[in-house]
Amino acid sequence: MSTELDRLAKALKAAKPGENPDRKAEILALARKKFDAAQETAVQPRPIHKPTQNASGIWTGVINMFRSINLRPALYATTALGVGGLAVILTIPLIDRPYGQFDVADMPAPVELKAVPKDEYAGRTRTDSALAPAPVPQKQLKENILLDGSALSDNKVKKRDLAAKTAAKPQSVVTVTPNNQPTVFAESEASGVLSRAIESDRLATMSQSIVDPETSILPNPDASGETFANETPNPLKIVTDEPVSTFSIDVDTASYAYVRSAIQGGSLPAAAAVRIEEMINYFPYNYPTPDMSKAPFSTQVSVFQTPWNKNTKLLHIGIQGAKPEIDNRPPLNLVFLIDTSGSMNSANKLPLLKQSFRLLLNSLRPSDKIAIVTYAGSAGTVLQPTAASEKDKILNSLEHLSAGGSTAGQAGLRQAYALAETMQSDNSVGRILLATDGDFNVGISNPEELKSFVEEKRNSGVYLSVFGFGRGNYRDDMMQTLAQNGNGVAAYIDTLSEAQKVMVDQVSGALFPIANDVKIQVEFNPDLIAEYRLIGYETRALNREDFNNDAVDAGEIGAGHTVTAIYEITPVGSPAIKNDALRYKKRTVSSDTPNEYGFLKLRYKLPGETKSKLITTPIAAVSTEPGQEARFAAAIAGFGQLLTKSKYLGDWDMQQNIALANASKGDDLFGYRAEAIQLMRLANSLK
């Protein structure tokens, strides 16, 4: 062998992937879900099992006998009783078999299942591994859940507390500690092997001792201390009482990435962490491109039947920002404001942040300028404004950042704004990119104070984007406050591919505002619409009078951004109307109202202007076949509402929602939608 080949062999062998037990567990769990899902949809008949060793003849006979029966319900009903007793005798001595070892190489199913490998869930802190992957008949499962009562009711109490808190103080911040989640894994449809019934028998007897809140799985052991900003879901409004609905647009996406990271980590996100509009707006939609001579964005309105309620309709509003003219964009002045406090010191924070900014750096121009400010204990300028062409210098400063100390967020912000103001020149766009886990524990730590500071600074013309990293003490409320009031966007970055999406693919949108303070106001026609409800946008609600008040701040649209808002509307006379008509209310039916469900008004300011412009669109009273983009948006709205356990969904379930999303996936060039569908499946199995 040549020496070069030897050298290559040695080097290649030395190149080993790092161990990442969490990621491994996540991938294996995903694959198991896939497997279970495949069993549900598997087309019969299954391949007949052929023993390859001399298995015990009696068992083979019994198995074959049950295999040949196709009627699953009958099978459960009859075999659970008959075989349960046998199984008890057979299984007890086998429970503690080591991994992958069996008495007979190919023992029949019932016995094997008892000998579940101990480290089936290696890497997780689960003690009841035998419980996990075996599908259990529904009937048995209920019993099992009942026996798990202690853990479950604990959790229910928590949830109720949470709901009460949220209801009592809609502005308040809810802290969620996702411990004691009941982890009922075995819920998929039984796959028709006789052993399942026996397994559940054992489950029933074991579950009481197994489920111990202290030792059972804690999906995100470091997830405590996270706070979220959300309000109670928008209630149903009666058109005759409140015909006008006003809100600010929102192009943030942080909530979706957060929800994804929670679900992939094996737990459902707290309802307070789910902001449906951010989930919907995470996805690029292919809305018509705007006619730049009229407005920097296009507005598309459609009405179609609600997927989850045949007696209501969805009003879908799609806004498409003009695509950026990349070639002659104005130069950018960027100040990276990087949190280097001690809490940033984990792989998914500072290191990921550095990688993310490297990605961003690659897509900048020589005429762009960059400065870096860090804060930890005290704030400091690490890199004076430097042209993006001096890549080495910038990368070098980035590389030398390290985490330590507490977080002086306020001082850092002040310094970043000051620096950004010195960098401003004609027709350049200034923006601060704040990267943090949101833990501002020195200086301003009150979101209200921080809000007024950022509000005051907003007028200097510098935008503020917030990138959230890591979990543990992620302060979502803080990030929201900053981005919403700093004329900017907030995104949550949990993986390098998310960084790719946020920083590079959509960097033009995030960095070039094309319209500021975009507000939406819809007036509903009481002659045709009885009730309505805005799905999401709870944190973005505006007062009716704020719409025409240019002093009131609202969201911005960046180049190429799409924004989607969905109302569920109930037509007059629909059986779905929830509120009875009032006996004493004066109701005037005007004969000359046009045939419109409502009237859509949009206000926006062009960048640098202080006076807003108005766009109006009547909403014709016609239902259409929804387009693919609108249907997918509806599916994401459905997903978000399922996660928040919305009471307006009736018996709509995740399976139906998955079917809806699947049917409207479209080209999905970047795979974002496929990923969302995968998340729905995963969430469905976590319930």
Binding site: L5, P17, I27, K34, R46
Partner: protein, 182 residues
């Protein structure tokens, strides 16, 4: 009598819908998938992406496994094909980092011998065409015979031998270039 159940038995079971058997198969082969992916793609995150792709596709793919080849041979083939898919995808995304290129850049600043070894490796891997690349990984690090590698890659054994000698030439040329411009 205790014995480890063979892959083939587990596959058989998994095809019949046995989730436990499927789980065991995954546990048993995950490390191989990740390792192979890492050496093909040169990046941890891409290797994990690959592992996820392969593991999640397995439930479906298993249906097409007929037992004509050894399960591991088949799984190697599935993994390598999936890795090539990722490489293709990477290439079509202009802004994306190329796996080994990324690593090369990361290691350059580090002067330690190990880091330099890896930088050299990244450079070598980058300069090798994909078919030589996968051939070398199978023969050098998975200790396969040329016949076994041929089986996995679905080419004649002679092709593997030819590729190995091509790779030698290639590496020698690289070494000479290195001497000429250190």
């Amino acid at each position: 009598m205790r014995m480890e159940r063979s892959d083939e038995i587990l596959v058989n079971r998994a095809q019949a819908g046995d989730a436990v058997a499927f789980g065991q198969l995954l546990e048993r082969h995950y490390d191989m998938i990740l390792r192979l992916g890492y050496r093909m793609l040169g990046s941890q995150s891409l290797a994990e992406e690959l592992a996820q792709d392969v593991c999640c596709a397995l439930p479906k793919k298993l249906g097409s496994f007929r037992g004509d080849a050894k399960f591991t041979t088949w799984l190697y083939r599935v993994t390598i094909n999936a890795a090539k898919d990722i490489l293709r995808k990477q290439k079509s995304r202009e802004t994306a980092q190329q796996g080994w290129g990324d690593m090369f850049e990361m290691q350059q600043h580090d002067a330690s011998e190990k880091a330099q070894d890896r930088a050299w490796l990244a450079q070598a891997m980058n300069s090798l065409p994909t078919d030589l690349h996968e051939t070398l990984i199978l023969t050098l690090t998975e200790d396969m015979s040329h016949a076994q590698a041929a089986d996995v890659l679905g080419v004649p054994t002679g092709t593997i031998s030819w590729r190995v000698s091509e790779a030698k030439k290639h590496l020698r040329a690289l070494a000479q270039a290195e001497e000429a411009y250190p």
